[in-house]
Amino acid sequence: MSQQMSIREAERRVFRLAAFQDGWWDILFGSELIMLSIYPITRRAFGPVWNLALFLAALALLLIVVYAAKRSFVAPRIGQVKLGPNRSVRLGRTVGVTIFVATFIFFILTLTRTITEPAWPGAPAWFRNYDVDILFTLVIIGFFHFLGAIYGITRLHLYGWLMGLGNLASTILEHEAGIIFHWPMLLAGATMIVIGVVLFSRFLRDYPLPVLEA
């Protein structure tokens, strides 16, 4: 009875079924990480402007593919829902977007030296060399933990660690060993894609096309 009366759990179930059950979000996000992993290589090949244009075009194509897949395979199986302006969904969305945007702006401002990095007196050299990346990693991990807790999706906790540590490891490898191919990020993206494909195959099995009576 307490399960049935839990509005919060009902919200989570609705959101999971509507957005995360089919695995396409995982495939989309994993593909974006793989694109980011080769970004430095393509940047050297095409230059910054063309590389950005290529990246955005690939991203647009990816979004079209995911949209078409959801329309063709997912919607006929689970139908459609219009999520209400429910308080906790709105709150989660607002806080999540705010944190993400604030972190992104901070990261960009630091990269462009618009704001200077803190001096961290007394901190070890390895921390001072990668302070922004470490902080970014912690924020990413925290952000995904927050999303995972709000929406009740366990794998988001894993994705935070994969993304955060993948990004940090890629940065360190680039600076210390000159490896511009961000293979830790690629591994993180590939893991998400594999999970997404497994989820999608399970989705097709668990949600056959419904038999609708006249």
Binding site: M5, V14, Q80, G84, N86, Y207
Partner: protein, 109 residues
């Protein structure tokens, strides 16, 4: 001699519960509709695990009580029904929820 009459004061809130909502299937439907703006028939079917006929019967009862609104349309060539809670339905669900929680909170561990 101790009276064997049941103490109806403690049962009173239960006796007042809305019987339209107080059915496992309809309670499930109302709960899910409460947290969304609207959902189509197929989505409700997948979410609740009810069969088409079963869901249809329960939605008819809820519509007759004025708790849900059914909007029939088409998606391409396929008929599509969108379901949403009415204002009366939302109010009735809140009353039901508060009543049930009050009763459950009074129960001993």
């Amino acid at each position: 001699m101790t009276s064997l009459e049941p103490d109806t004061n403690e049962l009173h809130p239960l006796a007042d519960l809305d019987r339209t909502i107080h059915s496992p299937a309809r309670l499930m439907v109302m709960t899910y509709l409460y947290v969304v703006e609207s959902a189509d028939f197929v989505f409700l079917m997948q979410l609740t695990g009810l069969t088409w006929g079963n869901l249809s019967t329960h939605l008819t009862k809820l519509e007759e009580a004025g708790y849900v609104a059914l909007e029939k349309g088409y998606k391409g060539k396929k008929p599509n029904t969108t379901v949403s809670l009415t204002e009366a339905g939302r109010a009735a669900f809140k009353v039901y929820k508060n009543g049930m929680q009050a009763v459950l909170n009074e129960l001993p561990d």
